[in-house]
Subunit: 185 residues, 2 copies
DNA sequence: ACAGGTTTAGACAGACCAGTCTAAATTAAA
DNA sequence: TTTAATTTAGACTGGTCTGTCTAAACCTGT
């Protein structure tokens, strides 16, 4: 159906622009121009810009899980899958433009009243946390840290590394994060 | 001088609003209205909104160092000063509204062409990194990790914790970060 | 052929934005 | 007192923004 074509194209373009420029900095006009889609079509598929952002974040997280599954499936050593999580992020960042995590960036761009979107982001972040927890639990690591503590550590170092990526536009901090993790598993 | 009064009031108000709402989301109109200052006076002291942001970030980092010095001075055990760095951030966050680090938030709100500001933020971030490095080097920690690795770890966990603060509006992640650090020093 | 869902181009409204300008008032310094 | 620096209120420009609307075209399934 054409509906899907247009919807996907809007999500693709908006996602790229939201990620590169930020949500507030990206206007509807730019989105529809770059997607080569009429204004009316945009509002036919999305009732507002905020709804577009929510849909984009959903798809982003979904794609993240699918990509992580595929990436980790190639790693046989369950312990190496923990550092694999960060390697996956490094790969993604290099592919997508070194601007940090879309979720974290979206959160930073929220306005005072966007409580619905903020809650949405919290849920998605929690999902990613749970994903890490599963990988850690199945890793058979050395238990220098508990499963919970190690999970927290991976998530925190990962987020910290992504912050560094957004600032410095390189993956140095993510690589440092992985070095630290590898010493504790 | 009144010049300073007005300038400080503008920096105070703008800083609070930039922090709570974000740079792009905060207009000149709101700043001058809440600071109760005339439009002309604003442009008498700052030539543009971007210049105001740069001045605000400079003052923010400066205050951060002054506050950190004062906070750490009360801690006699040099090792406890490392976790003290995070405790200081927790205190600050609770005081200032649990919206994460102003520097990281400003970076996330930059536009495509703001290379000057981006470079500015990099330098300030590096300064804070160096500050942490000094505290670590003087701590006499157990050397489970090298000085450099431990510094990286503190910075990354701290940034990760601040991301969590910005998303969840609590300091749980910063407290987790400190728990992890305390096990490795 | 027909109907309904989809897409187009573009005008439009209403609001906000950053920054400029004027002219008068206030303050500080000499 | 005179001069210069500072502050005020507010109009104004030119631009951008999201979202609405219209009227015509296009496609698709029946």
């Amino acid at each position: 159906m054409k509906e899907n074509n247009l919807r996907q194209r809007l999500l693709d373009t908006a996602g790229r622009l939201f990620y590169e420029q930020g949500y507030k900095q990206t206007g509807i006009n730019q989105i529809i121009e770059e997607a080569a889609i009429a204004r009316g079509s945009f509002y036919y598929h999305f009732s507002s810009k905020a709804e577009l952002l929510a849909a984009y974040l959903d798809r982003f997280v979904n794609d993240w899980f699918v990509g992580a599954d595929a990436y980790l499936a190639k790693i046989t050593d369950p312990k190496a899958r923990i550092t694999g999580l960060i390697d996956y992020r490094i790969t993604n960042q290099k592919k997508r433009g070194l601007s940090g995590c879309a979720l974290l960036k979206a959160n930073a761009g929220l306005e005072a009243g966007d409580d619905e979107l903020r809650q949405h982001i919290r849920i998605l972040k929690q999902k990613m946390h749970d994903y890490v927890a599963k990988v850690v639990a199945a890793s058979g690591h050395r238990q220098i840290l508990s499963n919970e503590a190690l999970t927290d550590m991976v998530v925190l170092l990962s987020d910290g590394g992504l912050v560094g990526t957004a600032i410095y536009h390189n993956t140095n901090d993510l690589e440092k994060a992985n070095l630290l993790i590898s010493q504790l598993i």
